[in-house]
Symmetry: C3
Subunit: 486 residues, 3 copies
């Protein structure tokens, strides 16, 4: 055990300081949302008016995804199950708290206070998902201290980017393909680029799975799969938009899943299935439908997107991840560039196509509700006309489809740039001395940060000790024989 990786002082000190800061910020700035405030006597129980009744079911589903789904999925290493599952728990909890405050200042701040409701928690869980995706790039090679510091830096960088893109570039991205998946991916790649470990270029002997860890990881996949429609539809417009988001996500995941099985078998030397494909590639469709998830793309398009995303993701794992690791010094542990980067790019492109193809003929006047920035601006007579059809329609910017598409492109590049730079800077911070970074040898090993039970790696040790004892035993025999022969 290396004293430089002891958590004895580092982790508690970090948590303590963080908690003091949080207590101060909460005390000064956090109050209740109107529908959580007794004083206003709303007692609002209409699901569309009170975010508790509107958003809590989706929030609960996303909770399962974040804590159980990610937790199990990341426990896929044989000797790193505790760490995968438990660091996910720690990092997620930490990131959500931090996001409540940071996003609060950007999105829910008025009258000098952050107004807290279930909707903030839901947004914070999305920010947390960003951190957990990035975590996938560096899992096994980072200490919990590094993970918390990463969350500490990534949440504000994400929140600023999100705020700037939504406020100034003004894009449509219901499933979060750009702001969640692309951001998380390139941030993670930036971090892992800086944390490059040359000695692990040919892998680490601990980078294997076990029978149980593979099963656990598939369980994580299943929980993510099952609730992904809730994830993609949680923040859409209510009504038919949310309905389409659920349908598209389900269809995309379905076609993606069977494609993953087919690809796994066809490219395996013995024609067998590979668990890593089933754990990861099956989920590609959920990301790929993201950017256009609430648009009228038609069900067949969602089906096709699932197949395309899955295929890109599969070949990414096969060819791109090794290439990045060998040539570009980017060790992407879980292959987040395949599951979130490539699919995010396909999704964003599909979103742009959907925007370019959107017409009033297909959407009716509610086109201006979905593509809010295409609604006519204040003063435009068309706005009044539309408001007769859709009472309460908000004025927009009067953008054409082409203009909106260009803004989407701008948002993609801006997000990738911000996240990559943010990731590189964060990586540099994580390299600082007191971060308890594990040595190359100790990577992917639960024993470094956990008191492990006595059967940890017992099989391994048993075999070793068996061989050693056997050697000794036959040595005894030889000695005995030798003695006898004398």
């Amino acid at each position: 055990m290396n004293s430089s990786t002891s958590l004895k002082m580092r982790l508690p000190a970090l948590v303590l300081v963080f908690e003091v800061v949080m207590l101060i910020l909460f005390a000064l700035f956090v109050t209740y949302d109107d529908n959580a405030n007794a004083r206003l006597q709303n007692n609002e129980t209409n699901p569309m008016e009170n975010s508790l009744y509107r958003d809590y079911p989706y929030f609960a589903d996303v909770q399962v995804m974040i804590f159980v789904g990610f937790g199990c999925l990341l426990a896929f290493f044989r000797f790193y199950g505790f760490s995968g599952m438990v660091f996910n728990f720690l990092t997620a909890t930490f990131a959500i708290q931090w996001a409540i405050v940071i996003q609060g200042f950007f999105q829910f701040y008025y009258d000098g206070k952050i107004h807290l409701g279930v909707i903030n928690l839901l947004n914070a869980e999305f920010a947390c998902a960003v951190v957990l995706i990035s975590f996938g790039a560096v899992i096994g090679k980072t200490s919990p201290v590094q993970l918390l510091v990463m969350a500490l830096l990534e949440i504000p960088i994400f929140s600023v980017t999100e705020w700037a893109v939504l406020k100034y570039i003004r894009i449509t991205d219901s499933g979060g393909s750009i702001l969640i998946h692309l951001f998380a991916c390139y941030f993670g790649l930036g971090v892992t680029f800086v944390l490059y470990r040359p000695s692990l270029k040919k892998g680490h002997s601990n980078e294997i799975t076990s029978y149980q860890s593979d099963i656990l990881s598939v369980m994580g996949t299943l929980f993510l799969w099952v609730f992904w429609p809730s994830f993609n539809s949680a923040l859409t417009l209510k009504g038919d938009d949310q309905h389409r988001a659920v349908l598209h996500t389900f269809i995309g995941l379905s076609s993606s899943t069977i494609t993953a099985f087919a690809l796994s078998a066809v490219f395996n030397k013995k024609g067998k299935l590979t668990m890593a494909d089933i754990q990861n590639v099956t989920l590609a469709g959920g990301v790929t439908v993201g950017a256009s998830v609430d648009m009228m793309i038609s069900p067949v398009a969602a089906y096709a997107l699932g197949i395309m995303g899955c295929t890109a993701c599969y070949f990414g794992y096969r060819y791109l991840t090794p290439f990045l690791a060998q040539r570009l010094r980017i060790q992407d542990q879980c292959g987040i560039h395949n599951l979130h980067g490539l699919t995010g790019l396909i999704s964003s492109t599909a979103g742009i196509c959907a925007i370019l193809l959107a017409t009033e003929e297909t959407y009716g006047p509610s086109m201006y509700q979905i593509f809010t920035h295409r609604a006519p601006p204040v003063g435009d007579p068309k706005l009044l006309e539309l408001q007769k059809l859709i009472p309460g329609l908000k004025p927009g910017l009067g953008r054409t489809a082409q203009e909106q598409a260009l803004y989407q492109v701008a948002a993609i590049f801006a997000t990738i740039a911000a996240s990559a730079v943010g990731g590189l800077l964060t990586g540099m911070v994580l390299k600082l001395r007191f971060m308890a970074s594990p040595s190359d040898k100790d990577c992917f090993d639960d024993e470094l940060f956990f008191d492990v039970p006595s059967d940890f790696d017992r099989g391994h040790q048993a075999l070793i000790s068996y061989d050693e004892k056997l050697k000794m035993s036959s040595m005894d025999t030889k000695v005995a024989s030798k003695n006898l022969s004398e």
Copy 2:
């Protein structure tokens, strides 16, 4: 490894053809449900009007049952955990897609299009449950190619049967005891009858569990148990009917569970509990209350049904399954005939009793909402009277309770006949050469279709190699001794 079981070409080819067909069918026939269509500007968020808000919570629960619940439950073999969980994932995804289209033509087709909403997905999950139950009969002895072909054939046969029974025989079966459980059971038995393997008559050495696989399987049971009330109530009338369905299912499962523990202990030689009973027999109550789940049977009847179903199921496992295997060449791997067949028959019988006992005194005029076929036909003056009490009551067929009961009986026989014949025919198709069917020796073995991690069956191998090495070591000794003695 046998080249005839390689998935390299077979699985991808099947998936590819299927996906092309699906893309064509989706492109030609699948469009959005009215409440998922932006153009109609409904923006409907009333839970009773938009199937997203009405059905999605139940859909999400059923998703967990299908993917996590079944997945874990079917992973109960020691060397077949990957296959149990992952083939369930593959088969379920495949079956749901296919059911969306096939059921779509029967149930959601008008104006030349299948109209897609969450309600279709929910129906498709029920069709998928049918396939997964049948899967239970042949688990361990089938390749994924066979499973997909089974789904490919079972879904249409099921959909036709469902449509014909509901349209022509017109029955009441909210919990799906007849159309889901009986159909799935006899279809599965038909398939496994054809796939009979004489050499496995005395079992296979791999047909054992491990400590971890038993625990995993109980987790599956728990997920099924917890969400079964959602399963049974998802498609009932809303309001008090759905409420009763939840209550009855919960009560039936409860009494069934404690009965299963009692039976497990009393018939065990050493007075201990058997995990297989806890994994399966506890769930019998959920099926048994099915056919009468939304009727006014009174809570005590649900309690009694749980006990009866559980008892039948338990003795089925004990006596009937061995009998079927030995005498009738029906190797029912998971004992679906006990958990779905016997209980389904009891449930159907109970449903018939409930129909015979239903009176206006108990149900009030809403009897004609629950037993729709008993409502007076168009033109009957009683219809107008009733419509004053229940606005919007649909005209029925004016059947008496006895008539309806006879139709239920007819439906039971028709369903069993259709499913058994369908299963036999499907079994014959599955016996065709290129289906990658595992050899008898390779049954119940993950290694056949998966790249397995190095600790797969390590214990087993370690013991073998230990014994072998020990033998060698003592041989060395003997040789040494022999040499010395010379």
Copy 3:
């Protein structure tokens, strides 16, 4: 195997008698809630009027907590995973049924019948949680017969206490800190005090975890964590109260979780994390916010309560549990006194402070809805005034804040006294001869009550047999050598 622990007759007899009693009670007394009764033709689907639509989503979440969450959490022992998970399943099912009837008589009884709806099931699950918490004190040292008898006695004692406290002392306790957590804790301690086993004073060699059991137990923790907001908010007033309950629970759990990690690291000799802390101490915040969960305590107070509860819980595990076991003969197996007792006391104290600090300025007139007993009594002119602001406000007792606080104190002492005495008496019953209590040696061992698979404890046996064989082998060698030397 000890015939005195055979379940062959005892368990089935107990279940049989119980089922007969239940059938009689159900037949005589249990009917449907108005909104589950077809005859009344309500067809009510408004979520606030029909407990199906209002409470079922929360009920489903609590179901997952009870069956999957507790089940996995209690499976933390290496050789007691079957028992932990399966006895939890049995006990929970049994307790819920029993609570439906017993609580039914106290809370849902009128016109000579218990009226059954989803709200009763939800209440029964809470009563069941009480039993499962108490179970934590005696896990590993009790037979399933003892557990069922404990449930049989604890449910009525709890229901009477709950009814008396709510009816006569009239307290505010939405999260159940007093009535659920304190009651369950001191009842469990009472039982375990009587069941004291001197020979286990220094622990049992089976009281260890395995790598897989630790992971399973963390999964249980995660399911409890994720759905705890539903647990704490299920029975609050709807509208802003329920909203706050969700927010406070989430915040309290969050701050509790990161505190648990910090404490775990700082007090570990090697600066590592301890899985037991992560499995238990992280959850302390959920209990600590309980008593004031729906009050206007401000988000920062929830954050602080999470930290305080977690700290108390951690030091409880470290110092108090050993002390109780060594000095007071209280062997609290899972440390429920830390996770439910200490936190419950802190929570109750915080609740009292919140009551003392509640003013109309903060709450507006809805203060009298939350603190119902502070509403003016019938005839008070202030009542009429308030009823203009809040139509339907019920008259109260006109208590002042101080009075209400004193009643809360009284309720705390009354609950602790009732539960401790009830626990002691129950413990005495459990000591009776025919309860199949395991011998000291057989504690914490699945093999006592289960048919275990062949790999149960294989590693252990393998090592033993290896050593033995090795000994024999070298003995052979020695014999051989000896023979030779002759």
